[in-house]
């Protein structure tokens, strides 16, 4: 016989476990940011973000990681622009030009979900072999193409989700006024503008943080990325390389670089959050 007392005790214990789980999961976030902050802050300097690596940088001498910061910004920026140029029309097509129950639409949504799950190392591997086959060396361009493929599903799925939930009335009103689908699309695009920025930020965040995709396709360079057909440094890769060095000064710079990347990501996340709540208000 389970008495009411022991049943209530079980409830209490279970609740404690659940709270513990919640705290450890949320805590892990603060642990990660805290440790990077703690280790990186002492090594952070103006020199780090204003200079390119000088001679002897990798044995602990002068220089910074401006090359990697700029490389990452270029790479993520270009890929995001491309991903939006391809992704926004696709999201519009799926929501405005087609019958929502059509097999094509459902299959496409499913495939974009699946594409979203494919790891960047697979994209990187295939892009690398194509580049070898075509005789192109690792370059900013190679990275941009790989990362664009990686980020298209993000843009499409985010916008699709938004467009799917726009009030049907809005679509119907514009159509019943005699607008063509394209004109309706333009109205809807205006309506979901904050959402588009969210998609842009999400894609940018994914693009700037990726390593496995750029490792094989973009290469690395100590110079500022000036030409699209030359190798370029990226921030995550700079962190990765510096961390594997045995020299403490170089490792320290890896921590500082990690901190810089953390700041960039946090900035993006906060902007996304603000925009998302704006879109919500917009809807009401």
């Amino acid at each position: 016989m389970s008495t009411i007392k022991s049943r209530l005790r079980k409830e209490k214990i279970a609740k404690l476990f659940m709270q513990f789980a919640g705290i450890s999961i949320t805590g892990s976030l603060f642990l990660i940011i805290g440790i990077i902050l703690f280790k990186g802050l002492p090594f952070l300097s103006w020199e780090m973000i204003s200079q390119v690596p000088q001679g002897g940088f990798y044995i602990g001498k002068e220089g910074g990681i401006l090359n990697a910061i700029l490389g990452s910004l270029y790479l993520a920026g270009l890929s995001t622009v491309l991903a939006c140029l391809l992704g926004i029309p696709i999201a519009i097509y799926l929501n405005i030009y087609t019958n929502q129950s059509a097999a094509l639409v459902r299959a496409s949504r499913l495939l974009f979900d699946v594409l979203f799950g494919i790891p960047s190392i697979v994209y990187g591997a295939i892009a690398f072999s194509i580049m070898v086959w075509l005789g192109i060396r690792a370059s900013l361009l190679g990275g941009v193409i790989t990362i664009t493929l990686l980020t298209i599903p993000i843009v499409v799925r985010t916008l699709d989700e938004l467009l799917k939930t726009t009030p049907l009335d809005l679509k119907n009103i514009t159509t019943s006024l005699g607008a063509t689908k394209w004109e309706t699309a333009q109205v809807l695009l205006k309506y979901i503008k904050p959402g588009i920025f969210t998609a842009v930020l999400l894609a940018f965040g994914r693009a700037i943080g990726d390593v496995a995709g750029v490792l094989l396709t973009t290469g690395f360079s100590d110079n500022l990325p000036l030409y699209i057909d030359e190798p370029a440094a990226t921030l995550p890769l700079a962190i990765f390389f510096q961390l594997s060095s045995p020299i403490p000064e170089v490792q320290g710079r890896a921590y500082a670089s990690a901190l810089i990347l953390t700041f960039v990501i946090l900035f993006i996340v906060i902007c996304t959050h603000i925009l998302a709540s704006k879109q919500k208000k917009h809807k009401l």
């Binding site: 016989m1 389970s2 008495t3 009411i4 049943r7 209530l8």
Partner: protein, 269 residues
């Protein structure tokens, strides 16, 4: 404690009750997100009879029903003040144990919600929770309760199949049997026939009429004809207040309050 109590509204209709009423509600107020949903409810619900709560939608009748077994506690931002006495015990007292209170009351919801398990396990769920492990006893309970609701002949060969394989009318009877299996004293029905076809509705109504000899039954309904068919007493609620309470024929044929008259005649709904 009084052995005789009465309910009085401004309209001076009085219902006299011979024994201690099963459920007494005193100065009950319910707020949801600062909205005053139920206002100063005072009410004695008669034993071994069917009492229907009627009123326009959104008037608070379902909230009133749910405060009776403290299901409102689970909704967020709800504040309840006042007391509800069941057998003289205040279920909103600080030391009241909520599972114990709920066991005393079977709930029959708007649509049937069979638990995600077999027909047998649905009915055995309650007794098992309360510590019954003996297989023979459980089988006995299941058979008895299914017979009680007239479902035994229909399902006795497929007790192990999923409860969702039953028709919606059968499911509602299963839910009733599931509630009866924990030996409650009170049955609460929240528009329990609104999802059913006319024949299933009739079956449930007849079951409830049979059951009132052993249970105190409180129903929420928005169908006046149903209230007339099944209930002994009617409570008319409007805008969170009890407007009128009385015997079914009195309320339906000779309502005292203007609002009740308008509602009964169909001017407000």
């Amino acid at each position: 404690m009084h052995t005789h109590s009465s309910f009085q509204t401004e309209e001076t209709q009085t219902v006299s009750l011979p024994v201690l009423p099963h459920i007494q509600i005193k100065d009950l107020n319910v707020y949801i997100e600062d909205k005053h949903i139920l206002k100063n409810i005072n009410l004695d619900i008669p034993n071994n009879s069917i009492t229907s709560i009627i009123g326009p939608s959104g008037c608070g009748k379902t909230t009133l029903l749910k405060t009776l077994n403290r299901l409102m506690d689970d909704s967020k931002n709800v504040k309840v003040s006042g007391s509800v006495l069941v057998n003289g015990e205040d279920i909103y007292a600080k030391d009241a144990e909520v599972t114990h209170i709920r066991k005393k009351m079977g709930l029959l919801s708007q649509r049937p919600f069979p638990l995600p398990m077999s027909i047998f396990d649905n009915i055995a769920y309650g007794p098992r929770i309360h510590g019954e492990r003996n297989k023979k006893v459980l089988q006995h309970i299941v058979e008895n309760q299914l017979k009680n609701v007239g479902l035994w002949e229909e399902v006795k060969d497929r007790l192990d199949s999923s409860a969702t394989s039953l028709s919606i009318g059968q499911q509602q009877r299963l839910c009733l049997a599931r509630g009866l299996a924990v030996q409650p004293e009170i049955i609460l029905g929240d528009e329990s026939t609104s999802a059913l076809d006319p024949i299933s509705t009739q079956t449930i109504e007849n079951l409830l009429i049979d059951l009132k000899n052993d249970y105190t039954i409180v129903l929420v309904t928005h169908i006046l004809r149903q209230a007339r068919r099944v209930s002994d007493y009617i409570i008319f609620v409007y805008n969170g207040e009890i407007i009128e309470f009385g015997k079914t024929e009195d309320i339906l044929l000779n309502p005292q309050h203007e609002l009740t008259q308008q509602y009964v005649r169909g001017f407000i709904s």
